[in-house]
């Protein structure tokens, strides 16, 4: 029998077998993983990836009124955008709108969350009220504010009149229209931001505050040295999500101002809508959409690059 070098022989066959079993197992777990991912892959493909690629494709064409491609134009749609004063204005408006909306939302929500985090009687009621705007639809909220902004019957102007000030044409005065839309948006976003910040506050270990109490720290010292730094991951999340959301604002513009006066509240998404469904320029609208996508991508990447390293995760 060939038992002279049995170890070498068995070793080789053994290694070979082990290799094969390993590869089989890898294949099996890969297939299993794909099976779990399948529902999301299908949903994302149909509703996100396909429309995205279709948009990029359309942005290089001229289309007819049905949206079918007619002439390939290359980069012409994009070139036209950057000399179009209306589009440039809408980009400016969008950045201004983000600037008017996001910081006040976060600051107001933080104040409300700090108040609602106190252990007081009936605090559940206030928490519900503060977060309730989350449950109001964009349309309902816009109509509600439309009444408030009404130049003759609106509550805001009534208040101004009774305190002896001039009435303001909230939605038709170019000076005020964007601010009015921002106020509506702040009000609508407070609910969500408040809820996230309150959750962040409640996850801070109470023994940190107790220890600070015993060491004799004052209220604002604790707020500055414990609460704000411990909330930094929550701030980061809230600010990133708010900026993305604000970039995509559409509903309140459509109901309150339709982009007016003189394109003063014409934001990018509203401009896309008008280009595509009023002017039937699907190619140009797609190019705007791609530009918006790149803008949001850059903003978010910039945030992660600059801010995230300063965020403290536990």
């Amino acid at each position: 029998m060939s038992m002279i070098y049995p170890t070498i022989e068995t070793n080789e066959t053994y290694l070979h077998q082990a290799e094969r079993v390993k590869r089989q197992n890898q294949m099996k777990s890969f297939l299993k993983g794909m099976l779990f991912l399948l529902p999301s892959i299908i949903l994302f493909s149909v509703f996100v990836f396909y429309p995205m690629f279709k948009t990029i494709y359309l942005s290089f064409f001229l289309t007819n009124a049905q949206g079918a491609t007619t002439v390939f134009t290359g980069w012409d749609n994009y070139k036209a955008l950057f000399v179009d004063p209306i589009f440039i204005k809408s980009v400016k408006n969008t950045f201004l709108f983000v600037f008017y909306t996001v910081p006040p939302t976060v600051i107001i929500s933080l104040i409300l969350a700090v108040i609602a985090n106190e252990k007081l009687k009936g605090i559940g009621f206030f928490r519900t009220v503060f977060s309730s705007t989350m449950g109001v639809s964009v349309a309902a909220a816009s109509v509600f504010w439309l009444y408030l902004f009404n130049p003759t019957m609106g509550l805001l102007n009534k208040v101004l009149e009774t305190s002896g000030l001039d009435a303001i044409e909230w939605l038709t005065d170019p000076k005020w229209a964007l601010i009015a839309v921002s106020a509506t948006t702040i009000w609508m976003n407070i609910g969500f931001t408040f809820l996230i910040l309150l959750g962040g506050l409640q996850s801070i270990d109470s023994s940190l505050y107790e220890s600070a109490d015993i060491e004799g720290s004052g209220y604002f010292y604790k707020l500055r040295r414990i609460t704000i730094p411990m909330l930094s991951p929550t701030f980061f999340f809230v600010i990133t999500v708010s900026i993305i959301n604000t970039f995509q604002t559409f509903g309140q513009i459509d109901i309150l101002t339709q982009g007016g006066p003189a394109n003063g509240t014409n934001l990018i998404v509203y401009s896309i809508y008008r280009e595509a469904f009023v002017n039937y320029q699907f190619g140009a609208a797609s190019a705007q959409a791609v530009v918006l996508f790149i803008l949001i991508l850059l903003m978010t990447a910039l945030q992660f690059k600059l801010v995230e390293r300063k965020v403290h995760y536990q």
Binding site: S207, E215, S217, Q314
Partner: protein, 373 residues
């Protein structure tokens, strides 16, 4: 300086049943006082009431003779170490230690002086620039102690500070905390559920159960003369061996768990009531190997043997109870083997089976005297 008095302290939540019930206690200056009890006994609540983190529902808390009931924690001049250390994860060790001093706007030079002093005392000079997450459990513990040191408060409260450490480190930190306390002359109130910590660290111990004080005293007193069955079985490791006992009809034997017949020695048994349900207890070191002497020998079946090297722990089955004996040295015993055990009647503790109160403790002084002669 710091003498703490609790007068009729009680605590109840939402006017429900009391969590703590008329606690009367005084703690001397410079004393290491341990509150020990099972979880839910109210020991942490009591500590937090002393700290001012929980409201006091009834009674008075006096520190240095002044009533402190309604003072906020910062005015009580004390420091506290929490179970999870309560370190600020976003601050460095140095900032953590100086957090309180900065908040109270203490002079920068003084801060630095106290920091250096504490860091040197605890051996954490090299860690001052690190964040808490870069520290090991023992190092975090030292940082938490550092806060106590720099606060210069005469009274220190600790809430299970060692429960997050592994066994070896725990034994080490026990010694360090104790040394620190003596060195700084702190009055310490220390909460733990670990009776070994209580025994080894405390000048005096208070055993708490269900919101009631069971016994207050020195560790050895609690071990030798527990006032009731709860204290007897809570203090000491392994647990004290307990069994139901009755006197035989002719009164010549004490029958434990229907199995052990212990001859009644009038000198030992004279004050034991004959007509009541009894429980007897005996510490595991008093179940002695029955080799040298011939008297009081009993044969018990060994059901488990643990070899610890320096000693051997043997479990015997006795009626429904499992009794443990701890014999010094290494003993070779097989499972199921009948082993002769010497049970001296004077080592027995007698408890009233209904109330659980102690009737008679073991006569240890006499036996130790006999050994030393």
């Amino acid at each position: 300086m710091s003498q703490i008095e609790l007068i009729n302290i009680s605590k109840s939540y939402d006017k429900q049943k009391d969590v703590l019930n008329s606690i009367n206690l005084s703690i001397e200056e410079g004393e290491f006082f341990v509150l020990v009890g099972p979880s839910g006994s109210g020991k942490s609540t009591l500590l937090r009431m002393i700290a001012g983190l929980e409201e006091i529902s009834g009674g008075f808390l006096k520190i240095n003779g002044q009533t402190m009931n309604h003072l906020p924690p910062k005015d009580r001049n004390l420091s506290m170490v929490f179970q999870n250390y309560a370190l600020y994860p976003h601050l460095t060790v140095q900032e953590n230690i100086l957090f309180g001093l900065k908040g109270r706007k203490i002079d920068k030079k003084e801060q630095q002086r106290r920091l250096n002093e504490a860091a040197e005392m605890l051996g954490i000079q090299e860690l001052l620039k690190r964040k808490p997450r870069e520290l090991s459990g023992g190092q975090r513990q030292r940082v938490a102690l550092g806060r106590t040191v720099v606060s210069h408060a005469p009274l220190c409260l600790m809430d299970e500070p060692l429960s997050n450490l592994d066994a070896k480190l725990r034994a080490h930190m026990r010694v360090e905390i104790r040394r620190l306390q003596k060195r700084l002359g702190l009055t310490m109130i220390y909460v733990t559920h670990d009776q070994v910590e209580a025994m080894t660290m405390g000048d005096r111990i208070m055993v708490l159960n269900d919101g009631q004080i069971q016994q207050v005293g020195e560790p050895i007193t609690l071990y030798n003369e527990p006032v009731n069955l709860f204290v007897a079985s809570f203090i000491g490791s392994p647990k004290i061996n307990v069994g139901n006992a009755v006197f035989s009809e002719n009164g010549k034997y004490l029958i434990v768990e229907n199995q052990l017949h212990i001859p009644v020695d009038p000198s030992v048994f004279c004050h034991i009531p004959r007509d009541r349900n009894l429980k007897v207890g005996i510490r595991s070191e008093h179940l002695m190997p029955g080799i040298s002497k011939k008297e009081n020998l009993h044969y018990l079946e060994a059901v488990n043997i643990e070899q610890l090297g320096n000693e051997t722990s043997i479990a015997f089955e006795l009626g429904s109870e499992l009794w443990t004996a701890k014999w010094p040295g290494q003993w070779k015993i097989d499972l199921g083997q009948k082993v002769s055990v010497q049970i001296m009647p004077e080592f027995l503790l007698f408890f009233d089976a209904d109330s659980g109160n102690l009737i008679k403790s073991a006569e240890l002084g006499k036996s130790q005297g006999a050994v030393s002669v």
